[in-house]
């Protein structure tokens, strides 16, 4: 018993010494701060309010709610003398909707890669404009339907995107208010033909006409995101509202997926260091 207590004490002592040593090493940075290695990372969780129409499945709107997840990385980037911002986002929604007594399950996921050129309008306001590559997919699933129980959603698009950031002073703190809009301009999307079964597309391989050119006239879609970054101690709380309004009218089939999400999470600013530097800083063997 006595030996066990001594052993525990020794472990605590060694661990505390080791931690002190690491902190000492951390306090001696191996290089100057590089702004291109600062990454703002944010993960949000929330709820989605869904309104789905897909005439391949039913001519009527299904409404309901679901779980919403969003993860984004924002960093500075430069090409030659040209400075810009690089934003990647991943979002997913898992939802359950109803039309009268009929049920529908929704699974949606999207990945956006965006590049922005920032314009400083004033000390408080910045406007960013840029381009975006969108990749989105998912499915609407109606268990009661027989041969058309699923409607698969797949699309990729080149989009115009813009961000407005306003730094709002509140007492001695500042709250960053951010509004982002993404508008797909041209791309390709998957859609079965009007009365075509998935058996014919995937079972028999008759894929003629299922890949369509998508543009704002046949697929007028956009996404708005409004968020507020609120500092709380050393952390930054982000509250966000996203309206992802997807629509299409191709192959005589009409679709809309109106996804209004309310999400909350913490934003972190991290500094990415090179692997060799991290080895020098943290490995006790070097």
């Amino acid at each position: 018993m006595k030996n066990k207590a001594l052993y525990t004490l020794l472990i605590i002592l060694v661990q505390s010494l080791h931690t002190t040593a690491l902190n000492a090493q951390r306090s001696t940075p191996t290089e100057q701060i590089n702004p291109y290695r600062i990454v703002e990372r944010c993960t949000l969780h929330g709820i989605s309010l869904l309104n789905n129409l897909d005439t391949y499945l039913s001519g009527y709107n299904y409404t309901g709610a679901g779980y919403y997840f969003n993860h984004e990385n924002l960093r500075n980037a430069h090409t030659g003398n040209y400075n810009w911002k690089y934003l990647t986002t991943f979002s997913a929604t898992l939802g359950y909707t109803k039309q009268q007594s009929n049920s529908q399950f929704t699974l949606l996921a999207s990945r956006y890669w965006s590049g922005y050129h920032p314009f400083r309008v004033s000390n408080r306001l910045q406007l960013w404009t840029g381009a975006q590559i969108q990749l989105a997919g998912g499915a609407l699933y109606v268990p009661a339907n027989g041969n058309n129980m699923v409607s698969v959603k797949m699309r990729t698009a080149l989009a115009a995107t813009g961000i407005a950031i306003y730094r709002l002073p509140v007492r001695q703190h500042t709250i960053d208010l951010r509004y982002r809009i993404d508008i797909p301009l041209a791309g390709i999307m998957f859609s079965p033909e009007f009365g075509q079964s998935y058996y014919e597309i995937f079972g028999l391989g008759n894929t003629h006409g299922v890949i369509k050119f998508a543009h704002p006239l046949n697929s007028p879609s956009w996404q708005h995101t409004l968020s507020a970054d609120i500092p709380i101690g050393n952390n930054t709380l982000r509250i966000a509202y996203t309206a992802n309004l997807y629509q299409s009218k191709v192959n005589s089939l009409r679709t809309h997926i109106y996804n209004h999400s309310f999400a909350i999470g913490f934003a972190k600013t991290i500094y990415k260091i090179k692997r060799k530097d991290s080895m020098k800083a943290y490995s006790p063997l070097l």
Binding site: L53, G59, S101, A144, Q196, S197, H215, Q247
Partner: protein, 348 residues
């Protein structure tokens, strides 16, 4: 660059000027639900041109015939019956209306014809020692022919299971494949079973689908092929037994099998049902199923109203009374006659 900006501005303005994409909804009322049902069928049903030729169906007349009845109806059950009766005018077993009151069916493809099947008589052939593999009941008959009953295509058989069944009857001279009263299931199950009866890829038919809301908006027929299975292949004589209860994917199975040189279809005409059905809903949540994709045979003919057998045989009342199945007996005789002819040819 200037052109690009002009394009972006033009497309954004166009997008903004477009209203939200919505469907032309009907209201949730007796008239609204009736109109919604009539419109779904009008726009999405695939056999109008065929039905007009076959029995003079006029869908616009049907609307004027039934709408006054809906206007006079008082209860949901009455409306359900009226709408069900309207759908029966299509004479299609794949068209159903489903609600809390039940499901409407069109059964005339089966009920107005001789049944030509008795599971009590079938027991006299299966005996007590038959095997069941993936829902297929099979045995070896006294004349050394195998008998297998496939009552449904509702689930996958499994390549290994069918191969194992074929191994266990591998010493039989021929196979009597009974699919009477098989109301269908999955097309892929029918293809899976049929793939064990061919050693080469063969062209068996075509499939189409609706491309728009017009009655004649149908796609160009795309070929359907039957590919051989990776498992056991049965190339000895096969007699497929059919009756009017053979419907939907079972009808499709007959369409595949009749293209094979060592297969003979025996019995009564099949029930049909060659349209692959899709589903939709009404404003009140009732479900509707309808044929949306016609499947054609290798000659490009629609088999919606059934496929004629190579040899017509009915169960006679004498056989029925003494517990004999005329079709199974005839199938056995045909296989035996085939081997007798083969022996005679070899002697010559």
């Amino acid at each position: 660059m200037k052109r690009l900006i002009q394009y972006i501005v033009a497309t954004l303005l166009s997008a903004c000027s477009m209203s939200c994409i919505e469907e032309d909804n009907f209201e949730n009322s007796p008239i609204g639900n009736f109109d919604a049902l009539w419109n779904i069928i009008d726009q999405r049903y695939c056999f109008f041109s065929y039905s007009e030729k076959e029995f003079g169906l006029d869908w616009n007349n049907i609307y004027h015939k039934y709408r006054p009845l809906i206007e006079k109806s008082n209860t949901g059950l009455e409306q359900f019956d009226i709408m069900g009766n309207m759908l029966r005018e299509l004479r299609d077993g794949h068209v159903n209306l489903t609600s809390e009151y039940g499901t409407t069916f069109y059964w005339d493809w089966k009920l107005n014809h001789p049944i030509n099947f008795s599971d009590s008589i079938q027991r006299n052939y299966l005996g007590a020692n038959f095997r069941v593999n993936s829902g297929i009941q099979y045995t070896i008959l006294p004349d050394s022919n195998a008998y297998a009953y496939v009552g449904s295509f509702a689930s996958n058989f499994g390549n290994g299971n069918i191969s194992a069944m074929m191994m266990s009857i591998s010493k039989c001279r021929g196979l009597i494949l009974d699919i009477r009263e098989n109301g269908g299931g999955m097309l892929t199950s029918a293809e899976e079973l049929a793939s064990h009866f061919t050693k080469e890829k063969i062209h068996t038919g075509y499939i189409q689908h609706k491309t728009g809301t017009g009655h004649n908006d149908l796609s160009t027929p795309e070929a359907i092929h039957l590919e051989p299975s990776d498992g056991s292949i049965w190339l000895r004589p096969v007699v497929v037994l059919t009756n009017r209860g053979v419907y939907s994917s079972a009808n499709y199975f007959v369409m595949l099998m009749r293209e094979l040189p060592h297969v003979l279809i025996l019995g009564d005409r099949t029930g049909g049902g060659s349209g692959l059905p899709l589903n939709s809903t009404l404003p009140n949540g009732w479900g509707v199923r309808f044929s949306a994709c016609p499947i054609l045979d290798r000659q490009g003919k629609i088999t919606e109203f059934g496929i004629d057998p190579d040899t017509i045989v009915h169960i006679t009342s004498e056989d029925w009374n003494r517990g004999h199945d005329t079709m199974i007996d005839a199938a056995g005789m045909l296989i035996n006659r085939f081997y007798e002819q083969l022996e005679n040819e070899n002697k010559e």
